[in-house]
């Protein structure tokens, strides 16, 4: 979606502030929401693409005024409501009105350790055949999906070069929307800074971004 989270290239956020280096967490509740989110992920209550979809779907003011882990909290609340695991009323009180849900076994300590130490990749052995190979000239599609996508605005319509093929991965656009994995190739695509940002950008600098096959078209050779 063309949401506030897609902020690459925006102006106005000011200089970097780097004073805040107290470690990964500032409060106990930040530690807890990280754990709640992973325990829920591990139990299969939602997937990581759905987390990103709900996080970026926040209205822009809420997004900008919230901290990183507040956004995790809002995303977990929204997703659990969406999935029917909890109701708004239950969230307000912290008390269940339906009693235990018996169909989802919770993540144990042993499973938590497996999640942390092994993770889980969305790589797939099979998928749509690759349409591009290293060296191909491509253009990122000028599309504006209302749902989740990993194609940021700043590359849309821009011309780049396939640098490498990372293999086949689930497409977040569909996996975040309950529409299946639609596994397909992901490519490292390199753009010049001038292609992305115009003539005032450095003529030497480049940007590389990983783009799904569905995000790309072949750049037609110019007519002779």
């Amino acid at each position: 979606m063309d949401g506030i989270a897609d902020m690459g290239g925006m102006h106005g956020f000011g200089p970097l502030e780097r004073a805040d280096e107290r470690g990964p967490f500032h409060n106990e509740w930040e530690r807890r929401i990280l754990g709640i989110t992973f325990a829920a992920l591990g139990a299969g209550l939602f997937n990581v693409d759905e987390i990103r979809r709900t996080t970026e779907s926040a209205d822009p003011l809420t997004y900008l005024k919230s901290t990183y882990y507040e956004r995790w909290l809002y995303s977990a609340e929204d997703l659990l409501k969406e999935k029917g695991a909890v109701t708004a009323g239950e969230l307000a009180t912290g008390r269940s009105v339906t009693g235990p849900a018996n169909n989802v076994p919770p993540v144990t300590k042993e499973i938590a350790r497996v999640i942390l130490e092994h993770g889980g990749t969305s790589r797939s052995a099979d998928g749509a055949p690759s349409r591009f190979k290293s060296g191909d000239a491509v253009v990122a599609r000028n599309i504006h999906p209302r749902g989740h996508t990993r194609l940021p605005r700043y590359v849309r319509g821009k011309c780049g070069t396939i640098v490498l093929d990372h293999g086949i991965f689930a497409l977040p656009d569909s996996n975040s929307a309950g529409l299946g994995l639609q596994p397909q190739h992901v490519y490292g695509v390199r753009f010049t800074a001038r292609e992305l940002w115009g003539p005032r950008a450095s003529e030497r600098d480049t940007l590389q971004i990983d783009l799904f096959d569905d995000y790309l078209d072949r750049l037609a050779a110019p007519a002779e």
């Binding site: 989270a5 690459g8 925006m10 929401i33 005024k65 990993r150 977040p172 590389q208």
Partner: protein, 200 residues
């Protein structure tokens, strides 16, 4: 606007997290003893010293360096590092001609097994918005001024691949041990917003 600057939250997030946690426990969807495990792991088990060991090994062992650049995930696993958000690692080699710097503009994707959880500035709107359009200005704010003839290559890690920058080994360290070399490698060197420097 800083990520941690906020004045008017909808309600106290601490209370909302507590309500969410007790609700999910009551429903049997999460185990209360497990929730803290995840944060503990990133506070005590994982952090940028892992990545520094990978870099120092690559500086000392040419064959390891080749394996690391050819298959980051497998070579990093040789040092027993891997897992969540490190399943698909690619290592980016800085050279005299090319300096790499990593971001995730859409959220804050980051290689957790080698660098731990990201610092606040990496998640900030300023970094996410600016480093792609004006990387040299952002690097200058970190005190890193690169000559015009060096290509700055920004990686926006928006899919499932996670990136670790392999910085150049500083001159004058030929007789250093791998352990001593690792002490030069800061987290920011492996994101690409700094380069290793010898102590003054």
């Amino acid at each position: 606007m800083a990520d941690h600057d906020h004045t008017d939250p909808p309600s106290d997030p601490a209370l909302r997290v507590k309500a969410l946690e007790s609700l999910l426990i009551e429903k049997g969807l999460i185990d209360p003893d497990v929730v803290g495990e995840f944060a503990d792991y990133y506070e005590h088990r994982v952090g940028p010293r892992n990545g520094a060991k990978v870099v120092a090994r690559a500086w000392c062992d040419r064959a390891y360096r080749e394996r690391l650049l050819a298959n980051g995930t497998a070579a990093i696993a040789e040092l027993q590092f891997g897992g969540l958000q490190g399943e698909e690692m690619v290592v980016l080699e800085n050279t005299p001609a090319t300096h790499n710097v990593v971001t995730c503009t859409l959220c804050s994707c980051y290689p957790w097994p080698t660098l731990g959880l990201p610092p606040t500035w990496y998640k900030s709107f300023a970094y996410r918005s600016r480093v792609v359009i004006e990387p040299r200005s952002v690097l200058a704010e970190f005190g890193l001024h690169l000559p015009d003839e060096v290509e700055v290559r920004v990686y926006d890690s928006n899919a499932e691949i996670r990136y670790l920058v392999l910085p150049m080994r500083p001159a004058g360290t030929d007789d250093w041990s791998e352990e001593k070399l690792a002490s030069l490698v800061t987290r920011d060197c492996m994101i690409g917003t700094a380069v290793p420097n010898l102590p003054a």
